[in-house]
């Protein structure tokens, strides 16, 4: 890890304007969502999946991770990185340092977000006990780390292309968030149900391979899942970091190449 990169990434992320904007995002938005009527079990699950799932985490981390998007007039992050990599900085160290700094901040925001939702929902006497448990907080913590790693991979792509990849992943993730409420339709002869089933399979595959998440409750309750769950999580994290590093190593930092 490069401590200088980590330190300054952390200073950037605790920038007062950034803090102010994201605190609103982490406190007001989830608290307001607790006001939504949640009579149907599916609606309750949907809101919970939204609050604890990857969508919010990825939105927050994308805002934080990008070098070019929010603090540069130009959207060309290559010109910013050219100066950085003219210094003795190993690109893998840059990736790891940025990921660690961002994971800490993202976790603060997402845990705050989940807590605000839980407090507001309890205060309003919403029945959320089914979906929010201590395991949820542990899941959110671990998943925020892996979702941030995924965003780090996207941020290693040149920004102009990366923004499209991010949008595609985010839209897919919104679909993934629905999987707990989905099931395969029994009628396999209708084109509409075929399409629906295809979407379900696609979202499930994506959830398993692209955005893997930890279900600590299952891991801790069932001994057979323990090793597989931890291994999947650890291997995905490693792959994300390595892949981000490979992407960054392949990149050229000159306006002529952009």
């Amino acid at each position: 890890m490069n401590f200088v990169i980590f330190k300054y990434a952390f200073i950037k992320l605790t920038n007062i304007r950034m803090l102010f904007g994201l605190l609103i995002f982490s406190i007001i938005a989830p608290a307001l969502s607790a006001f939504m009527p949640i009579d149907e079990p599916n609606q309750r699950q949907l809101i919970s999946a939204y609050i604890t799932g990857p969508t919010v985490t990825m939105l927050i981390s994308f805002v934080l991770v990008q070098d070019a998007a929010l603090n540069q007039k130009s959207l060309n992050d290559g010109e910013y990185l050219a100066l950085l990599f003219s210094r003795p900085v190993i690109r893998l160290q840059y990736i790891v340092s940025k990921w660690l700094a961002n994971s800490i901040i993202v976790n603060i925001y997402t845990l705050l977000s989940v807590s605000c939702y839980a407090i507001a929902a309890n205060a309003l006497h919403r029945n959320i006990a089914l979906v929010l448990s201590p395991y949820t907080f542990l899941d959110v913590f671990l998943n925020s780390i892996s979702y941030t790693a995924l965003v780090i991979v996207i941020s290693a792509i040149p920004f102009k292309l990366g923004i499209w990849v991010y949008m595609a992943v985010l839209y897919s993730i919104m679909g993934i968030s629905m999987t707990p409420m989905m099931s395969l339709a029994p009628d396999k002869y209708s084109a509409v149900t075929w399409l629906g089933n295809f979407a379900f399979y696609f979202a499930t595959m994506l959830k398993t391979f692209v955005v893997p998440s930890v279900d600590t409750f299952s891991i801790l309750q069932s001994g057979s899942l323990l090793v597989t769950g931890i291994l999947t999580y650890a291997s995905n994290l490693t792959l994300y970091i390595l892949f981000a590093s490979i992407l960054l190593n392949k990149r050229e930092f000159s306006y002529a190449s952009e």
Binding site: Y8, K12, S74, A82, R87, A256
Partner: protein, 318 residues
Amino acid sequence: MPPCVEITNLYKTYNRGKTHVLDNVSLQINAGEIFGLIGPNGAGKTTLMTSMLALTIPNAGLISINGFPAANLGNRRVTGFLPERPHFDAWMTVEQFLHYHHELAGLSTKEAEANVNDVLTKVELEFSVKKRLVRRLSRGMLQRLGLAQVLIGRPEICFLDEPASGMDPLGVQLIRQLLLEWKKAGTTVVLNSHHLDEVEKTCDRIAFMKDGKIRFIEELTNIQQNKQHLTIKWHVDTDVNKNIQAILDRTASNLNTSYTNAGDNKATFAINEIAAPYKIISDLVGQGLEIEEAMPQKHSLEELFRDLSRNLKENEHK
């Protein structure tokens, strides 16, 4: 002087080999020299510079800095870079930005404050801007900050891509002063610039690039000596004026040189030896020409640039 940058048969293409940006480039840059890269837009100067810094990956060829491959991390401890389009961390203050680069360069944090003040003085930025956000700086101030960022790493080799871009005349003067200080201190500088007068005043050697190829490398003193000329202005005299063409032709023929009649009683002779100005004046006076003015002039880099560009264009048409 030993070469500190060596480039051998460098090739770089974009668009899957369709666009040749660098085409068999080979050159050596000596330690302690100020080396100018000139050429029209799109010649490949920036790509060559970023290749030396291993920010661009060449398709073929070798680059070594102080004997090590360009991608060696150790090189970055001795190099400084000012990109043509600097995009700095806009959220930082000037002070934070310089501290950041001081630490990235691997220098001790104990001496950071003194070094930051020192480089701010060198680039003539007032201490009052230390607390100002980078995003609040003007274009010229950003360029000065970029120079401060180069200086803070105490580089042995500086790569400056259009350092005078967006600078006012005082800023341009500052760059000249810094370059001369670097020259005095034995720092190697690779300068890519369209400000040819600055290149002319500071560089030891220049390379002219076009279409990804180095077309011409020469020491600046040789260029200036080889391309001197003498402009003669004579008194208007009706008798002599009738024969002026013959007089000028005769002098050119006698002294084995060439001239161009600039009109308005002026002609410019090419100078091919040290004694040529004296001989030209004597010959013209001997033929009865009353000389009012004789002005020796060095061939400017701008003229060389124009001539080279024109010659290359003509050769392409042939």
